[in-house]
Symmetry: C2
Subunit: 567 residues, 2 copies
């Protein structure tokens, strides 16, 4: 029988940490899940169903001990957009499409694992990811203002349109809804920083402190629900409430997999899968490195893939590891994925027995929970740091940020990746090429523009600080010819290849042409410091056959000594 | 008044070479231009109009002394496809659209010059270009078989469909057309190699030899036209002829620039402009390097842009520098662009006085001229060489080749460029990271897996053979942590940065995280051989502030000596 590794080596003393963390996370998860369900335009039970089986499956197949899987903000936003694009007429159809979407996300993650493409997220640079996440957080917050203020603005509008309409309708804000929402924001903010700081100064049990500091969402849910019920604020549409949540567990069902639906959802599923994977792996890695544990990107694909398929067949929508909840799990002392299994158990209990208590829960409070959860993702500090270090990276951050805000999440991500790659390629198109000379009487050769060095008028030693490939070979040819033209006394050119790890076919042809052209001008070409793997590949190429082995040197110093003595 | 540089410095002794080359090129150009017009689905006069003003404008604004501008095979094919896609009903409309296309191509080339993007073609690797050209040559040949065999197969079909239908209809081939076509092929082939070889053995004037060996197209045109006329082969549709060419020069007119048409043509215009530019620059460069002349990519954009705008307003279609004709120009002794001006003059004379002579010219002969002109572009030798040196480059060649053949030219080119870039990025994603040790008692440090070296059990010296950027930082982090885990005695890690020319923001963050994680394991991080430009950028970053300057060394040897002595 299959047993996850952590279960085989489970130790008794890990249990108390897991139980405490499992309970605390469930306290955070239940209101958050319902809120994210609202963000995706799905009823609360779908979000709660997504918080049971996926957690258990991730515990069985994932590689992180502390990642807290379930509905997350960004994926819920994107799920909502993807479902809106289908233009479905009934809620039942929308829910069914959400199941299909989760299934596709799961299948795509497992496919990425099978074709060993766990490295695909490497092509999103940190600045792009940062700009992307900040902009998404702003979109999420903008989308929730209407719920906070009790306005009715259609979903799925571009961010600027949502912002504009919210501002325009600000005077029509519902005063009860707004008061409840602002009250929620205030309490949640107090719980986030000031209360945690205050509790640290009090002499109390750390578990109690953890529990107290994380119970903000539960408290605002309880207080606001009671207020609505007590003052009958839901009558005459004073305050919008979430209403009836069916009690009981979901039935296990295979999702609708009609070709038409799958075709429409596939592009969005791909982006959602990538984002979920990227978010989960980076959270899992950052936690694991703090405890010297190991995360396997490929096992994460497997765990998240299984979790999404589980969500799909148990009535849920796409899930991933959430940043906030994972941090709660980690800092509450979770030792193994058992904590998540306990959380799943408590969500089950909620669904079986506690759903009637959520009837009067106002949507304004859910909006407040979402806003407080995603606000820390707007990272202006990161932008400042990037700006100071590298203006082009800052540019790619800004382009991604504004593309996400103005067009949409998918386009922003694709633009960002394209720009990152473009900038990198552009940089390597004009490689740094240094003319070097000898430092004193040492064996070191350094850039003549930066060090006091001695050079030989008959020998030109050039260090190429870049791989040679199709995009920069033209530049190399032009540059060498320029350098020769400036110095008519030169008989020998030494190319120092210490920085070259790749010479592709185009570059090989260029080297042949450089050799040919130098030969015509009675200049001989020499190579120094070729790396092992590069030399292995060059052997047997027509270029190396033309250059005799006498012209290839282990070090620059050897080359220079040999050429000086031969003169 | 503007004068091109070659005109200012013109020498008397350059004149005879220019006159001879100008005449010989015109003998090749007239039949070829008419043939390429047919390939583009345009009447012969449009092709001849494209062979006057564009040549003069290129002579004024281009940078090559010997590039022969005019209609070329690949661009004519793509122009034909672009025009077919418009679904125009009349020939007049098609011709007008061809003028608009040439105008767009010209504007795009000038725009590339203005925004200094002359380097854009660097992103097409040699293997991709090679696969692209070979496949295009095959498409061109396939498209001409029907003219050779006198079959009627619609234009614009995918290459495999054209091949299939040609095979299917082979039994219905027109015997006269086929005989004329095969005769043309035979004569042209004889002129290409055997006659040239034979003439070299004869004692004769080199100008006469050049003229004789290049007059193949003119000869087959004359012979076949006379035969059709004499035997009345054009009656009863035995042989298709090109018919009436209006005598006289084109009027100068601004092309139709309606938004709808421009929008439809723009994507094709962009690809045609790129291909024309790529083809012209590579021909011009290869000729210039043989005579130690200089080609400026930016001036080529200017010259070709001007030539295409000239083609557009003088009733022509897109033009570029042709390989075959440029070689004829070069080897016939052209010294300056005056040769092209003379060619333009002779084409003008042809249009004024000789058009009636082309009335009976059979299309089968034009097909033969095209086939013989493009056949040498199918380069199997290049594929073999690439295959031997680098299998992934060979793969990108093959993918481009088959995409062009199966889908179309544009998709093939885009796929090829994407694959080239993808392969390069993939290679740099898992950089070569070598653990190094001291070679004997020298100051050299080399890979422990390749050389006999000595290492210190407490110091891990790692050379990173690649730029550090977003796509490979994860790998670097993982690899260093693995190396540490294997060797518990290690107290110091030295990163040798001799191959690193770029550290982007993502990599900087990874280095910070490596420094942080090593610190937790009581291992200190040192850097050696950081290049000047990299260090300039790192200065002031939080990473370098954390690492003290004591931990940064000029050379690996210095670092090792310092660390050994400190122990």
């Amino acid at each position: 029988m299959f047993m996850p590794p952590w279960l085989i080596t489970y130790q008794k003393d890990q249990l108390s940490g897991d139980i405490v963390a499992g309970i605390i996370v469930s306290v955070v998860l239940v209101p958050q899940a319902i809120a994210y369900g609202m963000l995706a335009g799905l009823p609360p039970e779908v979000a709660l169903y997504s918080s049971i089986l996926p957690l258990v499956l991730y515990a069985a197949f994932g590689s992180s001990n502390t990642l807290a899987v379930g509905p997350v903000g960004l994926m819920s936003l994107m799920t909502g957009t993807a479902l809106l694009e289908l233009n479905l007429s009934s809620t039942e159809q929308t829910i069914a499409a959400a199941h299909t979407l989760a299934f596709l996300v799961g299948i795509l993650l497992l496919t990425l694992k099978m074709i060993r493409l766990s490295g695909i997220i490497n092509f999103l640079s940190h600045p792009v990811t940062s700009g992307f996440i900040s902009a998404s957080a702003i979109i999420i917050i903008l989308s929730q203002l209407k719920n906070l203020l009790g306005l009715s603005i259609p979903r799925g509008l571009p961010a600027y349109e949502t912002a504009y309409r919210t501002l325009e309708q600000l005077p029509q804000s519902n005063v009860y809804s707004t008061l409840i929402g602002l009250f929620g924001l205030l309490i949640l903010w107090l719980f986030k920083a000031p209360l945690t700081r205050y509790l640290k100064t009090r002499p109390m049990n750390s578990t109690a402190r953890q529990f107290a500091s994380k119970s903000g969402p539960l408290l605002v849910v309880a207080l606001s629900t009671f207020s609505v019920y007590y003052f009958s604020l839901n009558t005459e549409q004073l305050v919008t409430i979430i209403g009836h949540i069916p009690a009981g567990l979901p039935s296990i069902q295979f999702p609708d997999f009609s070709i038409g639906l799958v075709k429409q959802l596939l592009p969005n599923a791909f982006v959602i899968a990538l984002i979920g994977y990227l978010e989960s792996v980076s959270i899992a890695k950052s936690m694991a490195s703090q405890r010297r544990e190991k995360i396997s990107a490929s096992k994460e694909l497997q765990g998240l893939g299984a979790a999404n398929i589980a969500a799909s067949i148990s009535g849920g929508f796409p899930v991933a590891g959430g940043f906030g909840r994972s941090m709660v799990n980690f800092s509450s002392g979770a030792n193994t994925p058992l904590a998540s299994v306990i959380t799943a158990g408590l969500v089950t209990f909620t669904l079986l027995s506690l759903t009637p208590f959520f009837f009067f829960l106002p949507k304004a409070i859910l909006a407040a929970i979402i806003i407080v959860a995603v606000a820390p993702l707007i990272n202006i500090h990161a932008f400042k740091q990037v700006w100071r270090y590298d203006k082009t990276d800052a540019l790619s951050l800004l382009v991604t940020f504004f593309t996400v805000l103005i067009i949409n999440v998918e386009t922003g991500l694709i633009c960002g990746a394209a720009i990152s790659i473009g900038i990198y390629l552009q940089r390597s198109t004009k490689p740094h090429i240094a003319v070097v000379g000898q430092v004193g009487n040492t064996e070191h050769y350094r850039n003549i523009d930066r060090y006091i060095v001695t050079t030989d008028p008959h020998i030109l030693a050039i260090r190429i600080d870049e791989n040679l490939y199709f995009a920069n070979t033209n530049y190399l040819e032009d540059r060498i010819m320029q350098l020769i033209a400036d110095k008519p006394a030169i008989d020998h050119v030494v190319l120092i290849c210490s920085s070259i790890s790749i010479i592709d076919t185009s570059a090989l042809e260029s080297l042949e042409s450089i050799h040919h052209n130098l030969g015509k001008a009675a200049i001989s070409l020499h190579l120094a410091e070729i790396k092992g793997p590069v030399m292995d590949k060059l052997k047997g190429s027509p270029f190396i056959q033309k250059i005799s082995s006498q012209n290839i040197f282990l070090s620059t110093h050897q080359a220079m000594c040999y050429l000086k003595n031969r003169r």
